[in-house]
Amino acid sequence: MTRVAGLLVLATLLAAAPARAEGTTILNVSYDPTRELYQAVNTAFAAQWKAKTGQSLTVQQSHGGSGKQARSVIDGLEADVVTLALAYDIDAIAKSGLLPLDWQKRLPSNSAPYTSTIVFLVRKGNPKGIKDWEDLGKPGVSVITPNPKTSGGARWNYLAAWGYELRKTGSQDKARALVAAIFRNVPVLDTGARGATITFAERGIGDVLIAWENEAILATRQASSKGAFEIVTPSESILAEPPVAWVDKVASKRNTTAVAKAYLEFLYTKDGQRIAAKNFYRPRDPAVAAEAAATFPKLKLFTVDETFGGWAKAQEAHFADGGEFDKIYTGSR
């Protein structure tokens, strides 16, 4: 009796399964906050691809902390393209042999079609009077940021703070002190940028969220929290360049190299750039940037290369085992 029932259920399931889609599928493995962005990009690009080549395209998405996603790709998650938070994570994938080590030169602007930066999200009225990075280290201020060990965004946050103080005072010690003070004020470390935003925005924890600019703007526009938050732009912040790449080994195995390249190149076209701007990423294209200038606050931006000598050095010094971040956490208890 149970056996018959079981077989019936199985049959129904198989019948209900979607007909195998004709056309191609590619997988975009991305980092945490880009869910809305790529939903829009995928719809637009699939339409364009169909019009140009007649081929139906489905772009599948996977999202998670940038480091975690990179690890999954290294472990065998078959990504045709990766769109991660920082070059270092794609470098790690390259080191495992899935794409060439000089991948970053293959697309314009260091393979970063849009940029972002790090800003602060505070509660309405800014009760704690947060204005700049030093305010985050003051006692009595509760700061939300994800864990730099797992979240790409968190690493940008950390380097933005360190870089700011370093550039202002020229002293590594003072920079270290500020970053340590900030992390002493952190009550919850989420594993990803989106988790941190939810902790701040929905769970009501913390006075200030250090966030991707696009995350912050998105949070202020969520229906559930209209008017509850304000964005505070620090005087200086880091230029975040989240890169994209196609994964040669996977794409050539699946015969998707052409469409994967076209997909990424779409991000640089006017249409792609406008979608990025609509989702609060700073477009590279000067014309589109001018159109969207009102959305993005003006602030001084510095890069990882000029302040830290590049990601490899920064990762080694700060985020590797025994690096500065570990010292901060074993130091303060």
Partner: protein, 282 residues
Amino acid sequence: MGGESRPGPVSRHLDEPRAVRIALIGGAVTFLLAFLLIPLAAVFVNALRDGLGAFFSALAETNTLAAVRLTAIVALAVVPVNLLYGLAAAWSVSKFRFPARNVLITFIDLPFSVSPVVAGMIFVLLFGSHGLAGPWLADHDVKIIFALPGIVLATLFVTSPIIARELIPLMQSQGSDEEEAALTLGASGWRTFFHVSLPKVRWGLLYGTMLCAARAVGEFGAVNVVSGHIRGRTLTLPLHVEVLYNEYQFTSAFAVSTLLTLVAVATLAVQAYVARRADRGA
């Protein structure tokens, strides 16, 4: 398991004073309220916060349906295998005495003491591209991790002790008298198994199977590690709940959770029914 109502205390002087009784009942119920009933209610209240329309559209959404399908396939793959294993394990351990029997029981229980995260991790270590079997799998283009087989294996591991654990004490306490009688009367081994042994354990078997299914459907930690989180493809219902939660779609997350909660409540209902039948000796 669940208690059939026992006849009231035998005589008055064995009762606690009324005040004490009420206090104890109050204490127990408050505890259960805080830790069971309120979380249960919260799922439904949060799910319906935006109204019935939003509730149903969350459930009918493509990715939700894909998650339902995937979860159902995983459960259908896992439960029968663990059922056979559970029967075999319980049979071997309760009907016979042999050296290292206790060791075997401990090994049967072993997955129960492994954290689900570790359970997922060991399959990545085994079948990931850099795992022990990785190169071989890559050469033969077999996908296990980040695909359905990996999810099935991880779920299989985590739920394997459930049915065995349910059957072993049951079979042990029941003894083998009926089986021996049947064999003496000339029944074959298989006949005895199907007509004597299986009916003896049918209620425990049913409950264990339902519990295994509920656990297979709800497994989160292990699947989180092996899944790859490909929307519409490798997200089971619990993972889909987490994704929705992370996209500010709280009402949808709780709406999908109600599906899982209803499975849980159905399991409880079956268990209550089973307990009543078992107590009545049916």
